[in-house]
């Protein structure tokens, strides 16, 4: 820019050079300041993440090693742990087939265009609905209108609504990662579309599909707001059954109850409530770490298999 402004006069050359030098200097200084600020911000955010994770685990450790924490009294989380895994499996049993079928239709059968756009728009909208509002919908639709009552089944169906968009997107990505040659090869051999999907596409997408299921599992384990109206906050006396029509709490909703509406109304003292809540937080974080690490391990496995092939 200064090239055009400065006339090609001998004396002006000096001025031009020093102006350029000043410009570069200014740019370098701005650059260093900006990079310093960005470094600082990033380190702050990273430190915040690490601090919170470490703090929650450390805070919970003393509770984790007390035996009563794993028992069935108010101070124990055995029922909540059972319910969490129960609801996780029940939800995945409904969620995986339905969303996988939807994803197969979108990736393999449906022509590109309007229809896919409509589905994607619906998915985005649904994933934007706050989980509390979705919980109210689940209460009305499943617990009241469908006469399921406040029950595990109503909770699982609400979680289906909540996780459908995410699962659909992940499954679509998984199927999309299968190279087209495989499909065309199978079709060229005279297989029907479904046979090609069943025998060629799904098997080669399996590892990615498993990663996707693990990722939705993390979301189901951590969900709370959608469950407080659909599954309730309390357990019946015989909680260790597979009956889907009883209300029950999970790790997250029990944590909410202990420190929120139920604080002071359980058989525990206030400091015990806090200790149990800290223990539950630590358990949840550890569960999520396990889920995340296994998803990563499978991801690496896929990579190795692909690069080895």
């Amino acid at each position: 820019m200064s090239l055009q402004e400065v006339a090609p006069v001998q004396a002006a050359e000096e001025v031009r050079l020093s102006a350029l030098r000043r410009l570069t200097q200014r740019l370098a200084v701005t650059n260093s300041i900006a990079m310093g600020v960005l470094w600082l911000i990033t380190l702050l955010v990273g430190a915040l993440f690490i601090y919170i994770i470490v703090y929650l685990i450390v805070e919970g450790v003393s509770t984790l090693i007390t035996p009563t924490f794993w028992g069935t009294t108010d101070a124990g989380i055995a029922p909540q742990l059972f319910n969490t895994f129960y609801i996780l499996i029940l939800t995945e049993l409904i969620l995986v087939p339905i969303s996988l079928a939807g994803a197969i239709y979108l990736v393999e059968y449906s022509p590109q265009g309007r229809f896919i756009d409509v589905i994607h728009f619906a998915a985005e909208t649904l994933s934007g609905v706050p989980s509390l509002v979705l919980g109210m919908f689940g209460f009305l639709a499943f617990a009241v209108y469908a006469h399921m009552g406040i029950s595990r089944l109503a909770g699982a169906l609400t979680l289906l609504c909540l996780n459908f968009p995410l699962a659909l997107r992940l499954f679509e990505q998984a199927l999309g990662s299968v190279p087209n040659d495989l499909r065309e090869g199978a079709l060229a051999l005279g297989a029907t579309k479904w046979r090609a999907i069943r025998t060629v596409v799904l098997p080669s997408a399996t590892p990615v599909l498993i990663t996707a299921v693990i990722l939705t599992a993390g979301k189901i384990v951590g969900e709370s707001a959608a469950l407080i109206f659909t599954m309730g906050l309390f357990n019946p006396s015989n909680v260790f059954t597979l009956n889907p029509l009883i209300p029950s709490n999970t790790l997250t909703t029990w944590l909410y109850y202990l420190k929120g509406p139920g604080a002071g109304s359980t058989s525990l003292s206030s400091s015990q409530e806090t200790a149990v809540a800290a223990g539950i937080s630590a358990v949840l974080i550890i569960l999520l770490l396990i889920i995340n690490l296994s998803a990563r391990a499978i991801g690496r496995l896929i990579q190795r298999r692909l690069t080895a092939a």
Binding site: A28, T30, N31, M35, L38, I41, T42, V45, G46, F49, I52, Y55, L56, E59, A101, G102, I104, Y105, Y109, V118, I119, A122, E124, T125, L126, G128, V129, P130, S131, L132, V133, M136, F137, L140, F164, L168, K193, W194, G218, K219, G222, E223, S224, I228, F229, T252, T253, L255, Y256, K259, G260, P261, T274, A278, S281, L284, I285, L289, N292, R296
Partner: protein
């Protein structure tokens, strides 16, 4: 003879295959359409409950601008009053304040992370973000209760006059929301920055820009719509966040006007906290009032989703 028989068999076989193919196709179509059915059902069911409160004593103006929320009539002991203005204001203020803090941190980190961070830092922070995105909201709420509230109480003691409930309220809710929303906004920003092709960076650097110029003049403008989407989705998450905020708000009414700075440090309300605390026990007219709140929230998030969709439809790099 032999040949025709096996031909017939093959023909039957493929006919059956085609039939199965057709059935499967219809089944899969139903599953895909189910998604549309769910979102329509959500909107319809909630709307069908939401309007009824206006036929049972509430007025539109009173609902959205009134400041006394007592739909069951328990507090006043008389007629219920449906002033949700304070609740809505609570949601709006906490969300906006939280996002004002989140945006520079999330986008700054995302830009640094994708453009300039050394490899070792990426390797540490990438899994951290992934884990952190999944942390349950109640756990963050618990963290807010045991660490942020005592901190806020200490900070605000000179302003609030050291009331015992000091520390609960908007300020803590904002802090909790910041912790909850940063990972969301950050990871979406990173995704959209990564979608900007390397040629944009190379072109900028080749023209002699410094790193900072490359980021601020080339990469960020190139993915402005992507970053906009990330911010809008952050808003969506913040305004819908329920239990974490409910744990640290701890109020039942919005404080009386006039406000000082102390309003941020005393028990307060927002939409989700009131729903979470009272929906289950409510009945009849009072329950309709909570449905109306839910519908308000639903409409707000639908608007956000539409904005984010509009933004991403205009983005160049996906």
């Amino acid at each position: 003879m032999q040949v025709t028989e096996s031909d017939q068999q093959a023909e039957q076989h493929s006919q059956r295959g085609r039939l199965i193919d057709r059935i499967v196709r219809v089944l899969f179509l139903i599953c895909a359409v189910l998604l549309v059915a769910i979102i329509l059902a959500v909107i319809f069911f909630i709307a069908s409950q939401a309007y009824q409160v206006f036929f049972q004593g509430a007025t539109l103006k009173g609902f959205f601008f009134g400041s006394f929320w007592d739909p069951s009539g328990e507090v006043s002991g008389g007629a219920p009053s449906f002033g949700a203005g304070g609740l809505i204001l609570g949601s709006v203020i906490t969300t906006i304040c939280a996002m004002i803090i989140v945006v520079p941190f999330a986008i700054g980190t995302a830009v640094f992370f994708t453009e300039a961070a050394p490899q070792w830092l990426v390797r540490i922070i990438q899994p951290l973000i992934e884990v952190f995105t999944g942390i349950p909201s109640v756990v963050i709420g618990f963290l807010g209760l045991v660490t942020i509230i005592p901190l806020m109480q200490k900070i605000s003691a000179p302003i609030t006059g050291n009331i015992p409930t000091g520390g609960y309220g908007w300020a803590t809710a904002i802090a909790v929301l910041v912790i909850m929303v940063i990972p969301t906004t950050l990871s979406i920003s990173i995704d959209s920055l990564r979608a900007v092709p390397g040629s944009v960076r190379e072109a900028s650097l080749a023209l002699g820009s410094t790193r900072w110029q490359m980021m601020s003049r080339a990469v960020v403008p190139a993915c402005a719509t992507g970053l906009g989407t990330a911010v809008v989705l952050g808003f969506t998450r913040a305004i819908g966040e329920a239990l974490a905020v409910a744990l640290v708000l701890g109020g039942s009414q919005i404080p009386k006007w006039p406000w000082t700075l102390a309003v941020f440090f005393q028990p307060n309300v927002n939409i989700t906290q009131q729903i979470a605390a009272n929906f289950q026990e409510s009945a009849g007219t009072s329950q309709y009032a909570y449905w109306t709140l839910a519908f308000t929230l639903l409409v707000i998030t639908l608007i956000f989703v539409t904005i984010s969709r509009f933004l991403s439809s205009r983005s160049v790099y996906k």
